[in-house]
């Protein structure tokens, strides 16, 4: 046991004396979560718009006030001529222009029908779409208020309700994904690099000639990373709770347990990678190409699995990250307990056992 503690201490010296690994370990999780949380977002906030009001009556004024009062839009300018529409877009001053037809209010009362044109800058199609939807929502709301005294027969009023993430906050979607990526990266890449480094430097040989057993060497190298990964997981969860106000609906204890399971899965993968690569560079390439890309593309982190081609859907099943993201979302957003995620947990557990068995088989106790 004492030999072991000395070994782990040495491992921490390696980690803390290498700026690059320190940065990957602690800088990256924080940077990624902030980036995904703040910069890469599907929400719109304070989008600049312009208004062209040919009517200038009470109705248009009420609508404009409603739009101005929402936090989604800020009215940057009022324009007066159709010709100005093109120029405000070209200057990039606004993302959308609302064009009220002439006699908007009167048409609405007289013909029960009035037209408003929503012109959006579709160089960014996602934002354009979102803007249109938001404006529509505000208009619908206004319409409902107008009609509240009148009952119209046979009217279908769809009521949508977004469950689990009612405000459609994209950070809710990114946190589980980023957490998965970070844990995978730290656990798999860092361990495979640190094991192959000993091979490359020749110190692995010295360790194997010592009375330490090969599995003790491996476990000694892995334990510091388990510890650091757990710290990372805690930091990510804290950041999402305190900075992004993302609630954790389910049990924190269960969340911790599942995270430790996934960390062990990733470590087992890291050990497996180190058994098949001779140099640190190979280990890094295999980790990046073989783990990071599938995690980002096929785990359901960014692209929904259900809309992938059949073949990719099948492939996604062998990616541990997919199952962990499902578990994370279930615990963090739906607040469910073990009875709903035991299947995914079992799959992860099975994968972990498989990876460990495979690396034990591959691990060459005797170097040649």
């Amino acid at each position: 046991m004492k030999r072991f503690i000395g070994f782990i201490k040495k491992e921490f010296y390696h980690i803390f004396r290498d700026r690059r690994s320190l940065f990957i370990l602690f800088g990256m999780p924080i940077a990624q979560i902030l980036l995904f949380g703040f910069a890469i977002t599907n929400e719109i906030n304070n989008v600049d718009i312009a208004i062209l009001d040919h009517s200038k009556d009470n109705t248009t004024e009420e609508i404009i006030n409603k739009i101005a009062a929402s936090k989604y839009f800020s009215i940057k300018q009022m324009i007066t001529r159709e010709a100005d529409i093109a120029s405000v877009f070209q200057k990039g001053q606004v993302k959308a222009v609302l064009n009220f037809e002439k006699d908007f209010g009167r048409n609405l009362v007289k013909d029960h029908k009035a037209t408003i044109q929503i012109i959006t800058d579709a160089t960014d199609p996602n934002t354009a779409n979102t803007i249109t939807n938001y404006v529509n929502a505000i208009l619908q709301q206004y319409q409902k208020e107008l009609n509240k005294d009148i009952t119209i027969a046979y009217q279908i009023m769809p009521q949508t309700r977004m469950v689990y993430n009612p405000e459609l906050k994209s950070v809710y979607m990114f946190v589980p994904g980023v957490m998965t990526i970070i844990l995978m990266l730290v656990s798999a890449m860092m361990t495979s690099i640190s094991i192959t480094r000993e091979k490359e430097l020749g110190t692995m040989e010295i360790l194997l000639v010592s009375p330490l057993k090969p599995f003790q060497v491996i476990i000694g190298k892995v334990i510091p990373y388990i510890f650091l990964s757990i710290i990372n997981a805690v930091v990510i969860v804290m950041l999402s709770i305190f900075i992004f106000n993302m609630p954790v609906q389910g049990s924190l204890f269960l969340l911790g347990l599942e995270s430790v399971l996934f960390i062990i899965t990733s470590l087992a993968l890291g050990i497996l990678i180190s058994t098949i690569s001779a140099t640190q560079q190979t280990a890094m390439m295999i980790s990046l190409m073989g783990l990071m890309l599938p995690v980002i593309l096929l785990s359901g982190f960014i692209f929904p699995i259900s809309s992938m081609p059949m073949l990719l859907q099948i492939i996604s099943n062998i990616i541990p990250a997919k199952w962990f993201i499902i578990i994370l979302k279930a615990i963090m957003l739906k607040g469910v307990g073990m009875q709903f995620i035991w299947k995914e947990t079992l799959i992860l557990l099975g994968m972990t056992v498989f990876f460990i068995a495979l690396s034990v088989k591959k691990y060459k106790i005797r170097l040649e």
Binding site: Y13, P211, K213, R366, E368
Partner: protein
């Protein structure tokens, strides 16, 4: 005579290639045994089998009284090993390296402290004891590496080309350290391709293409091959 290494017909094959071809020899306690040969003659492969990190294809060997096939773990407790490549941790200080290697050989904290103080004093490293090993000159590193290989007072120490790339003065000092260890009863098993170093050994074996072609004291070998130096002996052997 107490034989600490006994090897009989030890063979290692990689596919069709025979790296070590049925070598037989023994080494006595306290002896400095030179294991000579050109690069690629099979020296390192033979050493790896003796220290228990490579399985022989056939043959027997006992090291410190333990069989390499059945008891590699007991062997590991009784031997020290210094590889061709410098293999201390560059990002650990002199003291930390000593403490670490003392630790994995199971030395008590008190013993490690005593050992490390004695060792640092002996090597004259007092001023750099808290510096990273990576910042030391190669000669110092090699001497430190040797001392670390001896930290648990092993019965036998295996040195695989310990003086590669080191200047003549350091080589000289290195051999003084080897003599000192041998005088204290440690058996030294050393490979080298510097033939002048072969003269310092009690007994040498010369390996050519996986086989041991000659084995005796340097003096007798020179008589046998009618050569002036070990270098000539080696050249005559290598030319066949």
């Amino acid at each position: 005579m107490n034989k600490v290494i006994q090897v009989e017909g030890l063979t290692k094959m990689f596919g069709d290639f025979t790296a070590v071809d049925a070598i037989t020899f023994d080494v006595k306690k306290g002896e400095i045994f030179g294991f000579l040969g050109a690069n690629g003659a099979g020296k390192t492969t033979a050493i790896k089998m003796l220290i228990g990190i490579s399985n022989p294809t056939s043959g027997n060997a006992t090291v410190a009284g333990f069989d390499v096939l059945t008891n590699p773990n007991d062997i590991k407790k009784n031997i020290g090993y210094m590889s061709q490549r410098f293999a201390l941790y560059d990002d650990l200080t002199v003291k930390e390296n000593i403490t670490f290697f003392g630790g994995i050989y199971g030395l008590s904290r008190k013993r490690i402290k005593e050992k490390s103080e004695a060792l640092i004093k002996e090597l004259g490293l007092e001023k750099v004891a808290s510096q990273l090993v990576g910042s030391l000159p190669l000669g110092w590193k090699q001497k430190l590496s040797f001392s670390v290989a001896l930290i648990h007072d092993p019965k036998i120490v295996f040195l695989d080309e310990p003086t590669g790339g080191v200047d003549p003065i350091t080589r000289r000092q290195f051999w003084e350290m080897i003599y000192k260890a041998a005088n204290q009863g440690t058996t030294v098993f050393v490979t080298t391709h510097y033939m002048d170093e072969a003269e310092y050994c009690d007994r040498v074996s010369i390996m050519v293409n996986g086989k041991i072609e000659a084995m005796d004291t340097p003096k007798k070998l020179k008589e046998q091959f009618q050569a002036d130096s070990m270098n000539d002996v080696f050249l005559k052997l290598a030319r066949g």
